[in-house]
């Protein structure tokens, strides 16, 4: 049984962070859409549930921008699946997003910290 968190405990994704999460997930190696969703979910302890309605558009968008490439390979479900992997440009983008994200978190933390 999958343990499901009550809905209130889930975190709304901030605009633009999904792309970063996807890129980050693929840093460990090629993965198909379902896998990417699962990784984000488990890593976030079920706090982040990616809607399929946002996942596929995000994947196609990133592929279009040249940050991901895709290929069909056999999967664990005994049929081929579409595996996405990072391109060189994607790796660079991930680094950029990550440092931007760190800056953002730091800045917001400074603002939110009780004086």
């Amino acid at each position: 049984m999958t343990r499901e968190k009550p809905y209130q405990d889930r975190i709304e994704l901030m605009q633009g962070t999904l792309d970063m999460l996807v890129l980050r997930t693929l840093q460990w190696g090629p993965q198909h859409g379902h896998g990417i969703g699962q990784v984000i979910r488990t890593k976030s302890d079920d706090a982040l549930q990616i809607e399929h309605g946002s996942l596929y558009p995000a994947l196609h968008r990133l592929e279009r921008k040249g940050w991901l490439k895709s290929e069909w390979r056999p999967s664990e479900a005994n049929r081929r699946a579409k595996y996405y992997s990072l391109t060189a440009a994607g790796k660079k983008q991930l680094l950029a997003e990550q440092s931007k994200w760190n800056d953002l978190v730091e800045t917001i933390a400074r603002v939110m910290k009780p004086a």
Partner: protein, 877 residues
Amino acid sequence: MNWLRWIRTEDRERELDEEIEVDFALEVQQRMEAGATREEAESAARRDFGNITRIKEVTREMWGWRSLESFLQDVRFSLRSIYRGNLGFTTVAVLTLALGIGATTAMFSVIDNVLLEPFPYAHQQRLYSVVIHDQASSEPGGRPVFPAVEFLDYEQQNRVFDDVMGVKINRALWETGGAPESVNAPLVTANAFQFLGVPAMIGRIATPSDVAPGAPAVCVMSYSFWKSRFAGDRDVLGKMLNLDGTPRAVIGVMPPRFIFWSADVWIPVMLEPAQRAGFPPPWFYMLGRLKQGITTTAADRELQILAERLAKKYRPDLYPTRFDVGLQGFAEAEIGKFRRTLFSLLAAVGLLLAIACANVASLLLTRAESRKRELALRTSLGAGWWRIVRQLFCESGLLAILGAIAGCAFASGGLEVLMAILPQDTFPEEAVINLNLRVLACTVAVTIATAIFFGLIPLITGLRQDLNEALKSGGREHSAFRRSGLGNLLLIGEVAMSLVLLAGAGLTMRSFLLERQIPLGLNPEHLLSAEVLLTKGHRTIAEQARYRREFTEALRRLPGVIDVSTTTDFLPFGGTITEFELPDGTHTEQSRGQVSMIDPNLFGTLNIRLLQGRNLTEADLAGKHMVAVVNQAFASRFFPGESAVGERVQINTLARLPQPVMRPSFEIIGVTSDFKNRGVRDSVVPEVFVPYSVSGLGSFSVFVRTSGNPKTLGKTLEATALTLDGSTVVRHVRTVQEALENQEYAKPRFALQIFSVFSALGLILVCAGLYGVMSYTVSRRKREMGIRMALGATTGNVQGMVIRGGLRFVGIGIVAGLFGCVGGLRLIRSQLWGVNAYDPTTILGGIAVLLLVGMAASYAPSVAATHADPADTLRAE
């Protein structure tokens, strides 16, 4: 190849399907591994995934929402949706649009070519002539011509023009070796061609060096003259034309549209201050190009100061006691009052276009109502909001494009019709009227505006609705029928605009009919007229008089001729404007009127009655008795309540003719009945008729009263004139009826025709719109009708109800239209004759027509309403 994948959309679609399918399978597998049954896992996964169609749709958007493929899909879908099952709707909508666009384009083309760019000349909107206007005159206009010496003063001393050119009417005798031919050879200042900014088609234009002392004499030829006399032979360049005894080398041929002053050839001349008075007098028409940034008012002021100074030098011959100087736009002078007519017709066509748009919008709106469910269904099946918006835009855009294409066809057809009925004398000959690029741009703008306008309407009503509501209501649409306020407004607006158009058409028609009934005071039937110009052979008064006598006698001998007469002025449209002096001193006010030099037969030929005294006689002509006949307007203005006969009148204008009358004082010997002498619309002005033998102008008009069709005599008349003197020029041979039709009735008739057509089209559109809405209403209320009939309503009751419903729209529209009339009809006031712009009869007539149309349009739907079968309705409940 990666990029190939992006192009081959079917592969891409299949990939997306597979991708989602695999992920779905993986999800199910994962849940089963966690211990769920297959059913549980599948339904949980489905919940998790949500609307798969929707996911695909959103993902597809990501492929590029502007991608060709999805656009083509929209277009395909639009084509299908406007074709399939909606052919009737589409046809009506496209035709409606085409009507609006076509009419607007045709009208725009005329306005553009006639008002904005009639000439091929550079800076044509900045070309003005200078007019010295006598303040004592109630007539507009004045003296636009200047003797060479005064012309040079203006040219050198003015500070408002970049450049000035002069042109003078001139006819020259062209000696070809055979019979000499009289050609129209205006004299132009040497800078004229540079001033007008048109290069020669072949050869070169004349420049100031061509008139330098010692330079060889040259001339420039017009295209039509070149084509007709030289068969378009390029070797004409350098040929010598012997004009009035001077051999002139042809240096260039102008392009077809350059027909300045309707010349055959132009002769460049040098203006000399000391140019002698001669025949005809050396008056130059002045044309200046206004400096950029100077308003006409400022220029008028400047020129007034200059003219006041020059008046001291040239008074009293050239300047009246009190005068204004005014600039007159060159194009304005040619088009004049017709501008107003064209603008009011443009306003009318604007109304028509608005009606057309409202009609299409109303049609689309009606359809949007019935498409609510379709849109709701598509939304629930996963169509995104943007996709539906695009789809609706695509549909209306497609309609607009089809409308525009059909509209262009309508426009070119309409333009041909317009050209056929456009009065010939009202626009410059140079104007080429066709559908040009600017006009096309206007059409496109109109089309796009139209598309956006009614593309929005289904969006407003179609997407604001609650999906559930729309789906739930299903086949039961009784609650759905509450036509939006917008739809009603559109229809009411249509009716209102149509009333304004109808009233406009009605007023133009009444005005035209009244104008046709104005008594002319003379009998225009069986009357031929022509203008005869005598050339160099007839210089003296005696020679001209002899020619006139011989000519009339020769004509009178022709079979079928009842009477012949000549006059200096072309009656009934004008005479020479003059001031009268009445020597008894009791009449101190400015006395203006006109004078004509006639022969004794005039009154007989035109069937004008002599009221008092006697007519002129041959003895008066021969003996040069200073006697005159006056019209009744003259007698009653200057001698009210007493007899004018025996009084004297002095006409100083005659003393300023090229061949002056030395002591222009005349004894009044008779009074004639009035006839129109200032155009048909205006009242008769006082006129004095003096014997033609007192002077000679070198030209005269001839009137021939015939027993049969006067038209057949035209050729004979011309031949007779040429037998007497081969160099005579006979122009404007036409019947007086024709002249009246062309000069007096053509413009109001044109306005009338256009207005009638527009208002008829407007009515058709209103009728179609009303019919559409009423049919729709009835189809939606069939159940209600059925119930009413089941409860005992008669056919008459139901029909009456529907028709009353239709008439309610028309009624409200009429009230709105009355307000529109108050504003709109003011525009055409200046073109009306004898009828008030707010003429109640005409407006009531328009209302009656609209009510009839309203009834007609509601009748068929009302019959359809009675076909509702009560039994069916009840069963359906």
